[in-house]
């Protein structure tokens, strides 16, 4: 038996498993991102609202999700949440890839609140004087927020949001705990079937490294192309 | 004591110091003045190698401080430097600020350093603040402590980089008073300052710099009464208008 046999990574059944895992990891990332970003934006707006109870609600959402590890979230959504559903909904869930659905819910919420914090700090990075200036020109509050505050806030938020996306990509690995057949699951599966742990984990490592570094590069380039220009 | 020989410095393409050649004698009080951007701060910072030079040499007490193998730490220990923004160590008390270097550099035992530091703090009028932290002091008080801290190393030379520029007007006097006393006691001093009153009263010589060049060197009387270089004349005229 060879020490490192790259051929199993290039074709054959193990290769297929690993590639399927990679694809699912990517899908989990993209779908969760699609839910997390709007959720995060909403929570960020809540946290910066002028209405105090709204701010409190936003803070509660963020703190209660953020202070619990992703693994515990996954366990809850997969093992506990279905118990709360009415019979028909539960049947529907179990018939349609419950591992992936629960993983997406958990990942979206977890990534979402972190994105909310990044967007919030982006909003706070814009000096209050900007809004004052906009209002002095006669723009209403909504227009001031939309035309002056948010564009600047988003520009400041993009690098941390991209960094959060890298975290999301890495976090998909934890979904293995509820049996989602993403890359870590498949790597472990290959290991169990063939004892080829070195090749399987190398594949996973390269995949994670590549995507993470690509996203980080994108963040870096964005920061260079659209620097946050102080007033 | 300080010998500058064809000192040149560039920041990229910008020629910050141009062929500076001069001497500072022992016990001399030298004031360097000029418009902003003239290179005076840069010049004084090259004297203790906070800035590097690309051409020429600077010798202090015969030793080239910019030489390749020079023991910079030992050389700096023999030069006191007072910064525009005081730069006291906020996590140490006033007394500890003054004793840190002498003790760590093995110049004195803890007890000796403490005694001398207290003496110095007494001289600058702040012995009663020995256990206070810098953030409890006013700007003028902090700067006086900074002077005491520099003196605690018993340097033969003191360099002052715009020591009063960051102070509120009412505190400038107390710091200048300390500097005057030092000058009268015979300390060799190089001061970059805008305080022309101090220059007139205390300086032995004045260097006027503009655009990196040393344009005029004169005694205070000569400089203020009859500046030779047109830039110097303009500088003094501007000052009179203020």
């Amino acid at each position: 038996m060879q020490f490192f046999d790259p051929s199993i990574l290039q074709s054959g059944q193990y290769h297929d498993w690993l590639v399927q895992g990679l694809i699912l990891s990517l899908q989990l990332t993209v779908v969760s991102f699609a839910f997390a970003l709007p959720f995060g934006a909403l929570v960020a707006v809540m946290r910066t609202a002028t209405f105090a109870p709204m701010r409190a609600l936003g803070a509660t959402i963020v703190e209660s999700i953020r202070n619990v590890p992703l693994l515990a979230h996954l366990l809850f959504w997969y093992f506990a949440f279905p118990e709360l559903l009415p019979e028909s909904a539960r049947e529907l869930l179990y018939a349609n890839n419950p591992e992936v659905v629960c993983a997406v819910i958990a990942l979206s919420l977890y990534a979402g609140v972190h994105m909310a914090e990044d967007i919030r700090s982006g909003i706070r990075a814009v000096p209050a004087t900007q809004l004052e200036a906009a209002r002095s020109l006669g723009l209403g509050r909504a227009a001031s927020v939309r035309l002056v505050l948010l564009p600047q806030a988003l520009r400041a938020s993009v690098p941390p949001l991209l960094s959060q996306t890298v975290n999301l990509w890495k976090d998909t690995s934890v979904a293995t705990v509820i049996g989602a057949a993403e890359m870590m699951y498949q790597a472990a599966r290959v290991e169990t079937a063939s004892f080829r742990s070195l090749e399987a984990f190398t594949f996973a490592t390269l995949a994670y490294l590549t995507v993470s570094l690509l996203i980080s590069l994108a963040a870096h380039l964005y920061g260079r192309r659209y620097p946050v220009r102080a007033a | 004591m300080i010998v500058l020989d064809k000192v040149n410095k560039w920041y990229g393409d910008y020629h910050a110091l141009v062929d500076i050649t001069e001497r500072v004698e022992k016990n001399e009080v030298l004031v360097v003045c000029g418009p902003s951007g003239s290179g005076k701060s840069t010049l004084i910072r090259t004297l203790n190698r906070l800035e590097e030079i690309q051409g020429g040499s600077i010798a202090i007490d015969g030793r080239d401080i910019h030489a390749k193998g020079a023991d910079v730490n030992a050389l700096r220990a023999g030069i006191g430097f007072v910064f525009q923004h005081f730069n006291l160590f906020p996590h140490l008390t006033v007394l500890e600020n003054c004793t840190l270097a002498p003790v760590r550099l093995k110049r004195a035992s803890k007890a000796e350093a403490r005694d001398y530091a207290l003496q110095l703090l007494e001289r600058v009028g702040l012995a009663h603040k020995q256990d206070a932290y810098p953030n409890a002091l006013s700007g003028g008080q902090q700067q006086r402590v900074a002077i005491a801290r520099a003196l605690a190393m018993r340097p033969p030379i003191m360099l002052f980089d715009e020591p009063t520029s960051a102070l509120d007007p009412e505190m400038v006097g107390e710091v200048l008073q300390v500097m005057r006393t030092l000058a009268h006691e015979g300390m060799t001093m190089v001061c970059v300052t805008h305080e022309m009153g101090f220059a007139r009263d205390v300086a032995d010589r004045i260097w006027f710099m503009a655009e990196g060049k040393l344009l005029e060197k004169a005694t205070p009387q000569a400089f203020f009464a009859n500046p030779q270089h047109p830039r110097a004349q303009q500088f003094l005229a501007d000052r009179k208008r203020d």
Partner: protein, 233 residues
């Protein structure tokens, strides 16, 4: 409600310490001890890496930057798997799950602490280092007596937040069979079977109290530091 109280009454000790003393330590106590130990053990390495990270010599700072980038680009779980599957082969010793988890946590914490240390050093006004060097102190002495005391004090809130991250990271031990608190919770759930929601809510609440409490501490520390800071000249 009765069933709920019964649940807590029967399993609270198991939740807290696992099978100890009849078996290895587990549960919440294991989670907390592992996290604390990892952070403490990671401090020296994190400090060294952080100092190297801000070194003016690129031959020193760039490799460290590279290592930091790579470690941050891969999931903790992946590193855990590597360690779990390969450490015994490499060291010849059958490493326990707890030891494996600890080693991986120390590696990760060192890297994140290095960034905290580096950021703290960079955030200090350059005048501090300059005035220390002007007195004749060497770079090392200036770091030790002037820069690091201030940087580390300023970085304390971030360090506490890193502890929170570490506590959450210990949950991954579940996947390699470590009896930390999430694993114990799942064991309880299997035993009881009918109270999944309650079991996992208690788990979530436990983490919440621990992590939220610590992050409030970090927040208060941050406030206190800002109040005590010397006014920028």
């Amino acid at each position: 409600m009765n069933a709920f109280l019964e649940l807590i009454d029967t399993y609270w000790l198991y939740f807290l310490v696992g099978q100890y003393p009849d078996g290895p330590l587990g549960g919440l106590v294991l989670t907390v001890l592992l996290s604390g130990a990892a952070l403490v053990l990671a401090m020296p390495l994190g400090l060294m890496l952080g100092i190297a990270r801000v070194s003016p010599y690129r031959a020193v700072s760039l490799p460290v930057a590279g290592v930091v980038q790579v470690v941050r680009a891969v999931p903790l779980l992946l590193v855990l798997f590597w360690a779990y599957f390969f450490l015994p082969a490499v060291t010849g010793v059958k490493t326990s799950q707890a030891a494996t988890m600890l080693i991986v946590l120390v590696v990760f914490d060192s890297v994140y602490l290095a960034e905290i240390v580096a950021a703290g050093i960079r955030a200090l006004p350059p005048g501090q280092l300059e005035s220390a060097r002007s007195l004749g102190l060497s770079y090392g002495q200036a770091l030790r007596h002037v820069v690091l005391p201030q940087s580390l004090a300023n970085g304390l809130p971030s360090i506490v937040n890193q502890l929170v991250s570490t506590i959450k990271a210990t949950s991954l031990g579940y996947i390699i069979g470590l009896s930390e608190v999430s694993f114990i919770a799942s064991q309880i759930n299997t035993l009881v079977f009918t109270q999944s929601v309650q079991v996992y809510l208690i788990l979530a609440l436990t983490y919440f109290m621990l992590c939220f409490g610590l992050s409030r501490l970090a927040f208060l520390l941050e406030r206190r530091l800002q109040r005590r800071a010397v006014q920028p000249n």
